[in-house]
């Protein structure tokens, strides 16, 4: 009790200094959490992927297509329960800044493979029936204020021209991981326009989405699909949905590694500040600690005093930092909007934030505590701060 009381009084003996240190800690812990969340947001697609979906693409790269006739042949492969397909549209809504993914899909089979996109039966039916129709995620609809029945013009970069789509449905995600930031419309519409312009080029698909019954058979099924098209004009590469998504993340790996490194630098910065505070504190109280020792308190007590004070400030700063992370993350998500589809602070991040704060508290006081435990009483008493 006595120790706690002393710790509290000590920690706020220099209110200005303690407040400044706290401020630094709050900023650092919040920034650390935000950076980690940004990093995790890149992996959102991986997190949201289903174990019962495989993705087949052209083995050369995603910019190459596969013939639509493969759908029938994949459907016949052992272990495959359903097949759908999608083409990346790469269109621009108003300006390049409004980036979000658009896919031309086969509506009925695609929505069946993505049960996490919650649409009412009416919406599904309206979408399947309307060749010009599109469905969008809730987040996307909210961002641009789209309502059912609105017409949305998208300028194509891969498929030239301006395309007008009518919103026929807005899906909610089944859980927080679900991507609500996409637009889906009829693949048939793309295909017909391509065939009209370039008769030789139509009937092409960007990726096949292959539904399987048994996730443990994923590798075997993928192998069977690829073996079927080996040495053909369009060889396929089939992988699980999470591996497919991960391949996108790994393309930006250099940036992700940099962000991660930087997130640890901010912890180092605050460690330097905190260590400075504790060293100064210890130096000023040299005579006091010498007095305590002269009164019979052991070196351990003095060390505990310093460590406790440091940990107290760090814990306060850490708790406040974690608390402000939530509104900051929410504000950040609304500013960045559609670039990062899912933006939530994870439990791991919270644990790491708390861990970082405590580590800073411990390390910052380690050196002064060790030093003060060893001070010579006579010299200490003589010292005037």
């Amino acid at each position: 009790m006595f120790l706690t009381h002393l710790l509290l009084r000590n920690a706020f003996r220099h209110p200005l200094r303690s407040l400044l240190t706290l401020l630094g800690l709050v900023v650092a812990i919040a920034a650390f959490g935000l950076l980690r969340t940004v990093n995790e947001a890149w992996y959102a697609g991986v997190q949201a992927s289903s174990a019962t979906r495989l993705i087949a693409r052209n083995a050369t790269s995603l910019t190459f297509v596969l013939p639509i006739s493969y759908a029938q042949r994949i459907r016949g492969v052992d272990g495959v329960s359903s097949v759908s397909w999608a083409n990346w549209f790469g269109g621009i809504y108003q300006t390049e800044r409004n980036f979000f993914p658009q896919f031309g899909v086969d509506p009925a089979s695609y929505l069946k493979l993505y049960p996490e996109y919650l649409l009412t039966d009416d919406e599904k039916l309206a979408f399947v029936k309307d060749r010009q129709g599109a469905v969008v995620g809730r987040k996307l609809a909210n961002q641009y204020g789209w309502k059912l029945g609105d017409t949305v013009p998208i300028r194509g970069t891969i498929y030239p021209g301006t395309w007008n789509f009518t919103i026929r449905g807005i899906w909610d995600g089944r859980d927080a991981k679900t991507d609500e930031n996409q637009m889906l419309f009829h693949w048939q519409l793309l295909n017909e326009s391509i065939k009209k312009r370039f008769p030789k080029r139509g009937d092409a698909v960007g990726v096949f989405i292959v539904g399987i019954d048994d996730p443990s058979q994923a590798a075997a099924v993928a192998g069977r699909v690829d073996a079927m098209f080996k040495n053909s004009l369009a060889e396929s590469l089939t992988e699980t949905e999470s591996a497919f998504q991960l391949s996108f993340v790994s393309m930006s790996e250099a940036i992700l590694v940099a962000i991660e490194a930087v997130s640890y630098i901010v912890v180092l910065i605050i460690l330097a500040v905190m260590a400075n505070t504790m060293t100064m504190t210890a130096r000023e109280r040299l005579a006091e600690y010498a007095t305590l020792k002269a009164l019979g308190f052991g070196p351990g007590f003095v060390a505990r005093l310093l460590l406790g004070e440091s940990l107290l400030i760090a814990a306060l700063g850490g708790a406040l930092g974690i608390a402000v992370s939530f509104p900051i993350a929410a504000a950040f998500a609304s500013v960045v909007g559609s670039v990062l589809p899912v933006f939530e602070i994870s439990a791991t991040t919270l644990a790491l934030q708390a861990g970082a704060a405590l580590a800073v508290g411990l390390v910052a006081a380690a050196w002064p505590a060790w030093q003060m435990g060893r001070i010579d009483i006579v010299n200490g008493l003589r010292h005037v701060a």
Binding site: V27, S61, L62, T63, F64, S250, S252, V273, N276, T279
Partner: protein
């Protein structure tokens, strides 16, 4: 008015070595982040700007924006070549290269993870249009063969792209017979082969872009307008340098803004550190300050002395951070440019403006952190201060 000597200021920092070092370390780390981000953004720009030749023009399908989205038919290329003003090579052929560009998903050497590499079909004319490209090992690919030459970043970074190695794609085995150095430009991250062979192998009916040179580069604007006015052409024509500059914009801007936002947030931590240090310095020297005032040094002199101490402290931190950042020069990074969806290798580039911006940023942190403590020191009452001794 009498000023306090610099030696007084500097020695005050030296007396509190541990505190000075810790504060400077905090400041230095912020400066390091600030500088490396600027260097990264500069590096990407330098790489992609160096890719474009100021004398070349590049044509893409209207609205395509990037080579992989684009398609240019042979007819259109021929029409473009027939417009007056296109330069001719020594043997009388038009200096115009008809180039298919495709992305090929290859595994990286270091991690085994795949990334997209641009594979460009070109010809001897394409090489003549890019004088910055020089072979450093092996030989050039032979026209009409399944041979490739690799940019040095690709040869270094991707499995199967090194000299003498073989890549299998588009139903063929391609042998890498040479490695070229494109002067740290975007071409260093590409694979080049024969244009006609590429079109056949990838079953392309159209190329992606047309690169050409004008006999009189100053007529570029007029040529572009002539091409735009021609109803047979549905192409966007741009100076090659401008095209590559635009390709670098999104990634460079993204890194720059991300980095600046981080630096500003981080700087709060470092400024707080400087403030704590300077407040402590003022508090422990109350008697000293009062003595100085009693000796006749005016308030502004005291204010300046403490401000200068803080500035000096931040300068030490700034130089420390800058030194750390300087070590990053020459480090190669490679990432996917999301505008082109393909891999681009670049390095950290430090330029004089970056050095001065970084030092200014450091001094600004010192100024913000030191002003309040210095203000408090200057406002100290002489009599109270002397009593505190």
């Amino acid at each position: 008015m009498k000023q306090l000597p610099w030696s007084y200021i500097a020695r005050n920092l030296w007396v509190r070595r541990v505190t000075t070092a810790l504060t400077a370390l905090g400041l230095g780390l912020v400066v390091y982040v600030f500088a490396t981000v600027l260097m990264m953004s500069e590096g990407i720009k330098a790489t992609l700007v160096a890719t474009g030749n100021p004398d070349n023009l590049l044509a893409l399908r209207k609205g395509a924006g990037a080579e992989i989205n684009s398609g240019v038919s042979r007819d259109q290329a021929a029409i473009l070549g027939s417009l007056p003003g296109v330069a001719t090579a020594a043997d009388g052929r038009l200096l115009l290269s008809y180039e298919p560009v495709v992305l090929n998903n290859l595994p990286k050497r270091a991690t085994g993870k795949p990334s997209n590499v641009s594979v460009r079909g070109t010809s001897d004319l394409g090489l003549a249009l890019r004088p910055q490209v020089k072979l450093v090992a092996g030989r050039m690919f032979r026209p009409g063969s399944s041979e490739l030459v690799a940019g040095q970043a690709t040869a270094r970074g991707f499995t199967g792209a090194g000299l003498g190695e073989t890549l299998r794609f588009a139903g063929r085995d391609w042998t890498v017979v040479g490695v070229f150095d494109a002067g740290n430009s975007g071409f260093d991250s590409e694979l080049w082969g024969d244009s006609e062979q590429m079109m056949q192998a990838f079953r392309r009916l159209q190329a992606s872009s047309v690169v050409l040179r004008l006999s009189d580069p100053t007529q570029a604007e007029a040529f572009i307008q002539r091409a735009a006015a021609d109803p047979r052409l549905t192409l966007d024509l741009k100076p090659e340098r401008q095209f590559y500059e635009e390709q670098s914009q999104a990634l460079a801007t993204f890194i720059r803004y991300l980095g600046l936002a981080l630096s500003i947030i981080f700087s709060i931590g470092a400024v707080v550190g400087a403030m704590i240090t300077m407040f402590a310095a003022v508090a422990s020297r109350t008697g000293e300050i009062a003595t100085l005032r009693a000796l006749g040094f005016r308030r502004p002199a005291v204010l300046w002395a403490f401000l200068a101490e803080s500035l000096l402290l931040s300068l030490v931190g700034g130089l420390l951070g800058l030194a750390g950042a300087a070590l990053m020069q020459g480090v190669n990074i490679s990432t996917t440019n999301f505008q082109t969806f393909s891999e681009v290798a670049f390095r950290f580039v430090m330029t004089p403006p970056i050095v001065s911006q970084t030092l200014l940023f450091a001094l600004l942190m010192g100024l913000v952190g030191g002003f309040l403590p210095a203000w408090r020191a200057a406002r100290l009452n002489i009599v109270d201060g002397l009593r505190a001794q």
